[in-house]
Symmetry: C2
Subunit: 352 residues, 2 copies
């Protein structure tokens, strides 16, 4: 009997539904080929629902989502909604409530893709960032004192637990071993200034390293890491870092691998339900125009397959994407691909 996966689909805002549609097209095509089934259920969380009902993500939905095998997310973000509400109410709430403590971001330049970096090609840009996804400055801890007065103080706290740091680092060591490329794991931090937070990170890093003697460990400050990502991206194999620095360096990674048109990310709970998303925004100005690039959503689908254990199907999707990038797709920018959103989906579905 065919294996069946229960997938929650959250198309979300702006161009989210369009790119997810193409992602689903590709997933369906590859599932037929490899003999498994996807049972999709759609959820309408996002800006429109919030505007209609004032609701971001009800707890009852969390309960339903927690029973799925995976979540496939388009984009969250609406021009009429104040920044922070949807991000915190939906995206971050999902990451936190489902304890998706790993944010996994492969940074890989495919052949045929334009990188803004001089003298760098696919052989130079191929590393993975592992970002802690449930702690740090993202906990929302903090507050105001004397708000609105000349004496106002605003405090934002980065909270890091041994448990949270250790499980993230352990995942990174295991990942680095399994990836088996250079077997180099770099901790990106700021030990010389954030002497509490990154002291914990660094101590735990060195402790775990004793268990992973096959992995070479390295350390770099976040400022230096950003410089090297631009100057010497070929130095990196696997980078592990906290939530805030991870946010920054993964976007920098996205731009050197060709931008939001191709960058996908996974929010992983290795013992629970994981969520897969193109990391670009909802791009409202392109919504409904059949112009947006769906490749990032398709690559997010590929990561979903990988995590579900359908590795051969995932490899097929990657091969199909690579073929299309090399042969057919002119540019990764919306409206400049040389074909429409749905044509890109059709093409990849045909290639798999």
């Amino acid at each position: 009997m065919a294996k069946t996966y229960q997938i929650a689909v959250i198309p979300g805002d702006g161009t989210g539904p369009e790119v997810i549609r193409e992602g689903v097209k590709v997933l369906e095509a590859v599932s037929v080929k490899h003999g498994f089934k996807l049972e999709l259920e759609e959820f309408d969380f996002g800006g429109e629902r919030y505007k209609r009902t004032g609701e971001t993500l009800p707890d009852s939905a969390l309960n339903e989502l927690s029973k799925k095998d995976a979540i496939y997310l388009g984009a969250i973000g609406h021009p009429d909604v104040k920044p922070g509400i949807l991000e915190k109410g939906i995206l971050l709430k999902l990451r936190f409530a489902l304890d998706q403590y790993i944010n996994l971001r492969p940074v890989k330049l495919y052949e045929g893709v334009y990188t803004p970096l001089k003298d760098k090609g696919p052989a130079d840009i191929d590393f993975v960032v592992i970002r802690e996804n449930t702690e740090g400055l993202y906990t929302g801890a903090g507050g105001f004192l004397k708000k609105g007065t000349p004496d106002e103080i605003a405090i934002q706290e980065s909270i890091n637990t041994r448990k949270g740091v250790e499980r993230c680092l352990r995942y990174a060591f295991e990942y680095c071993r399994k990836r088996n490329k250079k077997k180099e794991l770099l901790l990106c931090g700021k030990t010389n200034v954030l002497t509490y937070a990154f002291d914990l990170w660094e101590r735990t890093f060195h402790e775990l390293a004793q268990e992973y003697t096959d992995i070479k460990i390295q350390y770099a400050h976040v400022d230096a890491t950003c410089m090297w990502m631009v100057k010497n991206p070929e130095w990196f194999d696997v980078i592990v870092t906290d939530n805030m620095f991870g946010d920054i360096i993964t976007d920098l990674g996205a731009i050197i691998q060709g931008g939001m048109g191709i960058a996908a990310g996974a929010n992983i709970n290795p013992e629970g339900v994981s969520m897969f998303e193109p990391i670009g925004g909802s791009a409202p100005k392109y919504a409904g125009k059949n112009m947006i690039n769906p490749l990032a959503a398709i690559c997010a689908g590929q990561m979903m397959l990988e995590t579900l254990g359908e590795e051969r199907a995932a490899a097929d999707v990657e091969q199909a994407v690579m073929k299309a990038l090399k042969k057919d797709i002119k540019s990764l920018s919306a409206g400049k691909m040389g074909m429409s959103t749905s044509e890109v989906g059709d093409l990849i579905a045909k290639y798999v």
Copy 2:
């Protein structure tokens, strides 16, 4: 009678003394030409002194330094000293104790300089970052709970005061007006996640904007800012941001303008004593070899002249640097300049 400036010189560690020597050479040359005097006093703070005496920066020295017109700093950082001690004990202590609340970092690609960015030239890379320099995550606030146990928690706090944020933003608005390029001031933050810290920043930003109606205000998240610095650096005019994000984006700025060989920064207290430094590290492996590039230190000297009000002398230094970059200097990397450290200093001194 000739105007005389009292300058404290802290050559510091590694290649610091070598680059400062060339910087002083240029400053002396230009002072003769423009008829002012520099009275230099050297201070030996740094790793060597710390190793000898256990002392980083005694309070008595702070008192002496606070009477100077400016401080000229080489580099702080010693391979035998645990990260954090010298940075916090000297560099950050100076910034905080002397209330140098502005970190000013021009990001300018000069002709003849290699940038790692494709299709970008001097016309595209020319903006200024203004980083708050005394608050945020740099306050050192935070602590451990249950340190060393499986229940450990490490907390790092970003503290932002209305006063601190406002004076930084005001400086940025004034600077943007005086620069008079595009008159666009961009606040770089993370309002959707750091909902306390950047709420204060954003509110204050909008309030001040009412007083500066000639300045167009913009906002970008830090992750997007990093992407655009690589993809579209020509979009920026003046960027203002907090201490931690400023640390990150100024290093990214340094790399796109040609790297540590050229990047200079000013730590400014507009009502007190300011400090000028090349932003690269102490590069211990090049120390004493007459190979390191002194241009960043020379440019820091130029910023010092500007701040002291010797604008014509400053302009002469910049012109001399530009001429040497265009005509003589082969690469900005240590050992690849086509001449030695002291030859670069001689050349710039000759050109001014």
